[in-house]
């Protein structure tokens, strides 16, 4: 145990950074994730298939390609990157925020898929019943739809978090591998495997990586079960 926790400062930084990046990626993905899942589950509009395809792109493209596209768009000279840096002071390239962006985008299709399934499973007759009781559509969403899709929201969030914890290709392409700034767990492990005598560190971080992912999974199971019990759906 001591050997496992006896991390160098750089290793600790990688662990902390990974958790921060994954958490930020998950939280910022949530609102657009719910919105797009709702659109895909219930919307009837021109271009729905196209939107579905775009959302799924990160899942089917090689991560390096996604990372490179991010670099082109959100890099310092990219159109979106230059705009955001100039007007909002938000810089992505070679910052941990860029890592969070890359991780969020890579986990986005997983999040949307889980949420979309749970939204499609909602009995819309419940919403109609709430409407006849006087609730306006916004209130119906907040008091009926949202609680009923909560298990799906939790599942989608955990998937996004887990994907972010393991994201490597797009992150390293987009924001490189800078210790203490963009060196997440996978990048740190990769670095250890590239230097002589790095086996110990690689193994330690690998084990920590497994523990964090398992903990997230167990937490989501417990949470989902608690929500499910509260709900008692027949």
């Amino acid at each position: 145990m001591n050997w496992l926790l006896d991390l160098t400062p750089d290793e600790w930084n990688a662990v902390r950074l990974s958790i921060k990046v994954a958490t930020v990626a998950m939280l910022f993905s949530l609102p657009p994730g719910i919105l797009i899942a709702l659109l895909l589950a219930r919307g009837k509009f021109w271009g729905k298939t196209l939107l579905n395809g775009v959302v799924h792109l990160p899942l089917i493209l090689p991560p390096v390609v996604t990372g490179y596209l991010l670099l082109l768009t959100f890099g310092r000279r990219g159109p979106a990157g230059a705009f955001l840096a100039e007007h909002f002071g938000i810089v992505f390239s070679f910052r941990w925020t860029g890592a969070a962006l890359a991780c969020g985008i890579m986990g986005f299709p997983l999040m949307v898929r889980a949420m979309r399934l749970s939204i499609e499973a909602v009995d819309r007759k419940m919403e109609a019943a709430a409407g006849t009781l006087g609730a306006n559509p916004l209130f119906v969403f907040a008091t009926i739809t949202l609680p009923l899709i909560l298990p799906g929201l939790i599942a989608g969030s955990i998937l996004s978090f887990a994907k972010a914890m393991g994201e490597f290709g797009a992150t390293i392409t987009f924001v490189s591998n800078i210790p203490n700034e963009t060196q997440t767990l996978p990048s740190a492990i990769y670095t250890f495997t590239q230097v002589p005598g790095g086996d110990d560190g690689a193994l330690r971080l690998t084990l920590i990586s497994i523990i964090i992912s398992m903990a997230a999974l167990v937490a989501s199971e417990v949470l989902a079960r608690r929500v499910g019990r509260r709900m008692d759906i027949e």
Partner: protein, 370 residues
């Protein structure tokens, strides 16, 4: 209080073209499945937008396609009880009941939690989850939830159709109390003659998307031709009576009606209480002379006012018994053998044991209306 519906609507191959107006305490929308009654009630609730037409409740226009008016469902203040209860699974019974209260302006709240809970007998259920309720309990909670939104009109879409007979018998008295003890008008969708005859003050008969007939329950129930084939045996005269006295020695109750005294099995209601009975046409025999040596206790003298062919070998005879019409379904052979003709004097014979819980009920919507 009145409900006016005048709409036309297409659903694929099915066209609905219906107009009716009712001011009854409990208006039944009656007809076989697929006749369009559920679509109609969904339009009143605002769940379906009709292609064309008008819907008004108590003078308030909810839909007028010509004027471009469509009041959304959450602004209609119309309660709805669905066949499948639709309780919110993530809330307790109490949470479900309170849901509609949030949206009712305090000045317009007339339904009290305690009174509604008492009316429906759901006090012991308040802390439970919907999944832990029986079908009958769910339906009572659903009725309570609709009531507590203090609606101006209550719609009930086959609330008993998915329940077994025991559960139906459990809920029917609550609906009767609702009808008699609150001022809330009700529109009730059903395909069951027994339910309609027992509950309704007025009936709108639907057939293939159109209104086939409408009027007071007594008049509609006599027209066996309006009833769906499989329910025709259930049709007959609906009489509103009063309890004259109880015959404890033989376990019977004597009811007073315009047609004369009618003996039924002992009812658990007080003397003087109103009771509605349905005399199934197939339970009525006809005699041309005062019968002697007959076990049947109810023998009502009357005059034949209607003879209409029924299905198969049957013929329906309408007998005016001192102002109350009793309907008898007999065979054409019997009619010819007895030489029955319009204006002929006859006796309608009804066995006491033909009355049971399905066709005898406390309450009298026609009087509750006044």
């Amino acid at each position: 209080m009145s409900v006016l519906v005048d709409i036309s609507h297409r659903l694929g191959d099915f066209a609905i073209d219906a107009r009716f107006e009712s001011a009854g305490r409990l208006t039944a929308l009656f007809g076989p499945s697929g006749s369009g009654k559920t679509t109609l009630i969904n339009m009143i609730a605002g769940l379906i937008r009709p292609d064309k037409g008008r819907i008004a409740v108590d003078g308030r226009v909810l839909v007028d396609t010509d004027a471009g008016i469509f009041v959304p469902k959450h602004k209609r203040r119309i309660g709805m009880v669905f066949q499948d209860a639709r309780l919110f699974p993530h809330m307790s019974v109490a949470g479900n009941l309170r849901y509609g209260r949030w949206f009712t302006p305090p000045a317009e709240r007339y339904a009290e939690m305690d009174a509604v809970v008492e009316l429906l007998g759901i006090g012991p259920l308040l802390d439970r989850r919907p999944a832990k309720l029986s079908g009958g309990e769910k339906q009572r909670v659903a009725i309570g939830r609709a009531l507590l939104a203090s609606p101006k009109l209550l719609l009930m879409d086959e609330p008993l159709a998915s329940l077994d007979d025991a559960r139906k018998a459990e809920i029917l008295p609550y609906i009767e109390r609702l009808r008699d003890e609150t001022k809330l008008p009700i529109v009730y969708v059903s395909h069951s003659v027994a339910e309609v005859a027992r509950l309704a003050s007025d009936v709108v008969v639907m057939a293939q998307g159109k209104v086939a007939a409408s009027g007071p329950t007594g008049a509609i129930m006599q027209r066996l031709d309006l009833l769906p084939a499989e329910e025709r045996g259930e049709g007959g005269a609906v009489l509103d009576t009063k309890v004259l006295r109880h015959d404890e020695a033989f376990g019977m109750t004597v009811l007073g009606s315009a047609a004369g005294e009618i003996r039924v099995p002992r009812l658990a209601v007080a003397t003087g209480a109103p009771v509605r009975i349905r005399i199934r046409a197939r339970d009525v025999m006809i005699a041309t002379e005062q019968p002697m040596g007959l076990s049947a206790l109810n023998i009502l003298p009357g005059i034949i006012v209607a003879i209409s062919p029924g299905e198969g070998p049957t013929v329906d005879i309408g007998i005016d018994c001192n102002g109350a019409t009793v309907l008898a379904r007999i065979t054409e052979q019997s009619r010819q053998a007895l030489k029955l003709h319009l204006g002929g004097k006859v006796f309608a014979v009804i066995k006491t044991v033909s009355f049971d819980r399905a066709n005898t009920s406390a309450g009298l919507p026609a009087e509750a209306d006044g």
